[in-house]
């Protein structure tokens, strides 16, 4: 007979669950609304989602202030772990989602947004990511990861084009493989240490001085492969461009930001202690991965003929750049990761949204793909404002000061220098120079070529509505005036990262 469990409710700290429960409840609410009165306009769901995410954001601010006062909080049988990393990454996740969701209000009607399920799934996905970053427990990480991924596969497929199905299936297959690798890796660590909590694993491993280094390495290989798929680290990146191409531009932009930050946090939690414990092999392999991801993705991006695919490769390269932070593993580099990613989300979401508003419903005969370079030729003549904004995002992605991403890049390179990774720092900046070429290529097409389209520039904002323009405006302002906010951001991030012991 089971003995009754005696746990006081206070010790469970159920408050730690609130930020994740809000989107779940919201998603259920949307489903219920659909149940009672279907055929509602999508604007209702967009606004509801926005409200729910807003409430989520406020609850995050609440836990941030609690963290600020009391430090790291554990809850729900010590499964939940609310530390600075969890809070910062949830800010990014929820914030980017709030920027993303109004993009559903396009001028043309697209298939996926007419289903309320889209928005419910979207909110479930956010809850999944939030679980993933706010725990130390490999099982809960897995649960969060799978919740989020399954929802995301469906979101991609709902775009309802041949390429989207292909993308969704591809992503699903790769995701399943990654999930398998993850569970294998976790299993090995559990077998070694008898625990699924990362800090316990670290303690046990360092207590027996990494006696079973062979098994540790096998476990690390599995986990590395799994995160390689999720973060699209070269050579596990092959799915990324196809999936980005198949999904709608807005969703592709979203995918380049939110799933990755969640995976970065988990990678940071797992690999940081392994690197610091002196597993040299891991450091070498991460070094190689970082350099390969940055460089090869850049080279592939050079030869793309479609802007969206170019941006897909460029976001792989950016992920490699940021992966360097985990390799370096100092407080400065981890803060740089967050700074970089916040600035990156503005710029990248902005640039994908620019593609999104120029999306045609059907491809014209002379166009090979949705966003070929030729489409943007001579854009300055026909749509000067849109061209300038697009150029702004490209310059920011290239790391040109004083636009947003430059500050992230600078801080990241500085963190490499401070920790003695001089060669890495040089590789990082030289990659930025290579990347300059393909960002410039789009600018060249927009500003220096003659228009090919007979259209009078309407095409570049065919989908634009006030909400979309607002989002792009926010992204543009965030990119231009980033330099005014860097100081506060940096102080805030550094404090949170430092207080969580990273």
């Amino acid at each position: 007979m089971l003995s009754p469990v005696n746990v006081s409710i206070e010790s469970l700290n159920l408050m730690t669950l609130v930020p994740m429960l809000i989107p779940i409840v919201g998603a259920l609410l949307i489903l219920v609304i659909d149940l009672f009165k279907s055929e509602q306009d999508r604007s209702l769901y967009v606004m509801l989602s926005l409200l729910i995410l807003g409430v989520d954001f406020i609850s995050l601010m609440d836990s941030a202030s609690v963290f600020h006062k009391n430090g790291t909080i554990m809850g729900v049988f010590d499964v939940m772990l609310i530390d600075g990393l969890a809070i910062l990454s949830q800010f990014i996740i929820v914030g980017a989602s709030m920027l993303f969701i109004p993009l559903a209000l396009t001028h043309k009607r697209f298939h996926e947004f007419s289903y309320p399920e889209f928005f419910a799934l979207f909110l479930f996905m956010i809850a999944g990511f939030q679980f993933m970053v706010a725990t130390d427990n490999l099982i809960l990480i897995f649960v969060g990861l799978e919740t989020a991924s399954l929802a995301l596969y469906t979101l991609i497929a709902m775009h309802n084009r041949d390429k989207s199905f292909e993308a969704a299936v591809k992503y699903f297959t790769m995701g399943a493989l990654a999930a398998g690798f993850f569970s294998f890796g976790s299993m090995i660590f559990y077998a070694l240490t008898g625990s699924v909590e990362i800090n316990q694993i670290a303690e046990v491993l360092s207590a027996n001085k990494y006696a079973d280094i062979g098994f540790v390495l096998v476990g690390v290989v599995f986990l590395l492969a799994s995160f390689g798929f999720k973060l699209s680290i070269v050579p596990f990146h092959t799915w990324t461009p196809d999936v980005y191409e198949g999904s709608s531009a807005a969703l592709a932009g979203y995918m380049s930001i939110v799933p990755k930050i969640a995976a970065f946090i988990v990678a940071m939690r797992i690999f940081e202690f392994l690197i610091h414990s002196g597993v040299v092999w891991l450091e070498v392999i991460l070094y190689i991965f970082v350099v390969m991801t940055m460089t090869l993705a850049n080279v592939w991006a050079l030869v793309q003929t479609d802007v969206k695919r170019m941006l897909a490769y460029s976001s792989i390269s950016h992920a490699g750049f940021v992966m360097a932070a985990i390799l370096i593993g100092t407080t400065q580099s981890n803060s740089a990761l967050f700074l970089y990613w916040i600035l990156f989300s503005f710029t990248n979401l902005g640039s994908f949204s620019m593609l999104w508003i120029s999306r045609q419903k059907n491809l014209p005969a002379h166009q090979q793909s949705d966003h070929s370079y030729n489409k943007f030729a001579g854009m300055i003549k026909t749509a000067p404002v849109a061209a300038s904004i697009m150029a702004l995002f490209m310059l920011s992605l290239a790391g040109l000061p004083p636009f947003g991403l430059f500050w992230g890049k600078m801080y990241m390179v500085s963190s490499a220098i401070t920790s003695g990774y001089t060669v890495l720092a040089l590789i990082m900046v030289l990659n930025s120079a290579i990347a300059g070429y393909y960002y410039l290529k789009l600018i060249v097409y927009m500003f220096m070529r003659e228009p090919i389209m007979e259209d009078s520039g309407h095409i570049y904002s065919a989908n634009a509505t006030l909400p979309l323009k607002t989002i792009i405006g926010i992204a543009a302002i965030g990119t231009i005036f980033a330099f005014l906010a860097i100081n506060q951001l940096l102080e805030f991030i550094t404090m949170f990262v430092y207080n969580s012991g990273y």
Binding site: I380, L395, W407, I417, L426, M448, N487, L490, T494
Partner: protein
């Protein structure tokens, strides 16, 4: 208002450019001229208010930007940067005023005003990151000017220009971050302020590496041999106004940065690299002069001659004494005026004939006498004829380097003779002889709009050639403080002996005067 004059100089053109979007395109030219004239008047006021007896920074402003990481908006000018700031606003003014009929003139003027912002920013920034921001930002308007208004190969030329410089300056950024890290290690605080860095004495081995990192950024910008390959393309394809600004101001960013960063921060490394760089500079002078002689295109001749003279500036800078550095700064201004004017002149003939091949011309002196006169004057100045502006700068630069090495200076001196050969040959081909081509018989002489640009440049060329003192004296004061700072900071014996001790020299001079009495 004087307290913030530098910020006004930097951001006024940017603000005006923003508002320029609203101005109707028929009135744009007047708007541009008005704005640029105000800017130039402000910069003249800066000169008027500038105290030329003070060697340090003046009109300093400081606003915290990212204080956690030691980045602050700090600007200020001293004798070294003052005249380049004035020159930049001057060229923007006459550049806009003399603009010919071009397509999209509104966009062009807005771009030029943005460019003026970045130029004023680079030469007055006293924080490395702020400097870097303007330095990189200056690439964008130039990219657009070359890429949108250039010749048939404009896209290749503009992208090459951008990427070359971008790659170099990213390496420089690594150097800057390293420098800030050293400062952090030494003092426990982050700082990117150049004046803070001046106080830092680095071990020689670090200096060498950092010098190399900064060198990458600066040398590509100058451009020094063997990084000069982007420049002929850029000049060849750029529209007249682009070439003028590029040659007159943008290239000076590199040489200016050598004096602002490399010399005072790394005195030992500067001495260590003095001869390698001097040899590069001499190769640059001689080689590009020979290449210039082989050109068929007059614009390429001017472009290569401009590179060649940049070599003399580098040589003067790395003389590491007061004469050399003062001379090189003066030569920067002189080179700006003269090569800017030459590019204007090439533009004049290109507007009329739409060709730049010298073989297409001949006997132009008969058809366009005024044009031939101004071209002759500027060519003589470029060759370095005494009583023209270039002569003063070249003479001082070479004099400075003569103290370091006689042989190398002699080599550089012969290059000036080569310069005379190709310039005179080009002049002969274009202006003397009989008019062979039918099209050339009825070419109109320079018109009023072109004279607006050319007359002031001609006046400056002669005026500063005859009486350079007002400019030279101010430069000299600031250079002396730089050299004495370098002497103090130098650690190796070699460096101490190569960089003269100004205080000692001054007292020695005083003693000798007293003895004479």
């Amino acid at each position: 208002m004087l307290d913030h004059i530098l910020s006004i100089l930097i951001f006024f053109p940017a603000l005006a450019a923003m508002l320029g979007f609203v101005v109707h395109k028929d009135s744009m030219r007047s708007y541009g001229v008005a704005v640029a004239t105000i800017e130039f008047a402000l910069s003249l006021w800066l000169w008027f208010a500038f105290d030329s007896t003070v060697s340090g920074m003046q009109f300093m402003e400081q606003i915290a930007l990212v204080p956690t990481f030691g980045i602050n908006y700090i600007v200020g000018v001293d004798g070294i940067s003052l005249f380049i700031v004035i020159l930049a606003s001057f060229f923007t003014m006459i550049g806009i005023a003399s603009l010919g009929e071009t397509k999209d003139i509104k966009n062009l003027i807005i771009t030029l005003l943005f460019l003026q912002m970045t130029m004023a920013g680079v030469f007055s920034a006293l924080d490395a990151i702020v400097f870097y921001v303007f330095w990189e930002l200056s690439l964008v308007p130039m990219l657009y000017i070359i890429g949108a208004w250039g010749g048939p190969l404009r896209i290749y030329a503009s992208v090459k220009f951008f990427l070359y410089t971008f790659a170099g300056s990213l390496v420089m950024l690594v150097g800057m971050l390293f420098m800030a890290y050293f400062y952090f290690q030494a003092t426990g605080e982050w700082s990117f302020a150049i004046l803070d860095w001046y106080r830092l004495i680095l071990p020689e081995s670090f200096q060498l590496w950092l010098f190399a990192a900064f060198f990458m950024g600066f040398a590509i910008k100058v451009p020094m041999f063997p990084f000069h390959t982007w420049l002929p393309y850029a000049h060849g394809q750029a529209p007249t106004i682009g070439s003028v600004i590029l040659a007159a101001i943008l290239l000076k960013m590199g040489t200016y940065a050598f004096i602002r960063f490399s010399l005072p921060l790394f005195p030992d490394a500067s001495v260590y690299f003095m001869f390698p760089i001097a040899i590069l500079a001499i190769i640059m002078i001689i080689y590009t002069a020979m290449v210039a002689y082989a050109q068929k295109d007059i614009k390429q001749v001017v472009a290569y001659s401009s590179v060649s003279h940049m070599g003399v500036i580098i040589l003067g800078t790395f003389a590491l004494n007061v004469e050399g550095i003062t001379g090189s700064i003066f030569l920067m201004i002189a080179h700006g005026v003269v090569s800017g004017a030459l590019f204007f002149l090439v533009g004049v003939i290109y507007d009329r004939r739409h060709t730049k091949y010298m073989s297409e011309f001949g006997g132009l002196a008969h058809v366009m006498p005024r044009y031939a006169t101004i071209f002759g004057l500027m060519m003589m100045a470029s060759v370095g004829l005494p009583l023209t502006i270039n002569f003063v700068g070249e003479f001082l630069s070479l004099l400075g380097f003569y103290k370091q090495s006689h042989i190398l200076t002699l080599l550089a001196g012969t290059a000036i003779i080569v310069g005379a050969i190709y310039m005179l040959a080009a002049y002969k081909k274009m202006f003397f002889g009989v008019v062979t081509k039918e099209e050339n018989k009825n070419l109109p002489d320079v018109n009023k709009r072109e004279l607006i640009a050319l007359i002031p440049l001609a006046i400056i060329t002669v005026w500063l050639g005859i009486y350079p003192k007002p400019v030279l004296g101010t430069i000299n004061t600031s250079v002396e403080s730089v050299v004495s700072l370098m002497h103090e900071k130098a650690q190796t014996q070699e460096a101490k002996s190569r960089i003269p001790n100004i205080a000692k020299e001054a007292s020695a001079a005083k003693n000798s005067v007293e003895e004479a009495h």
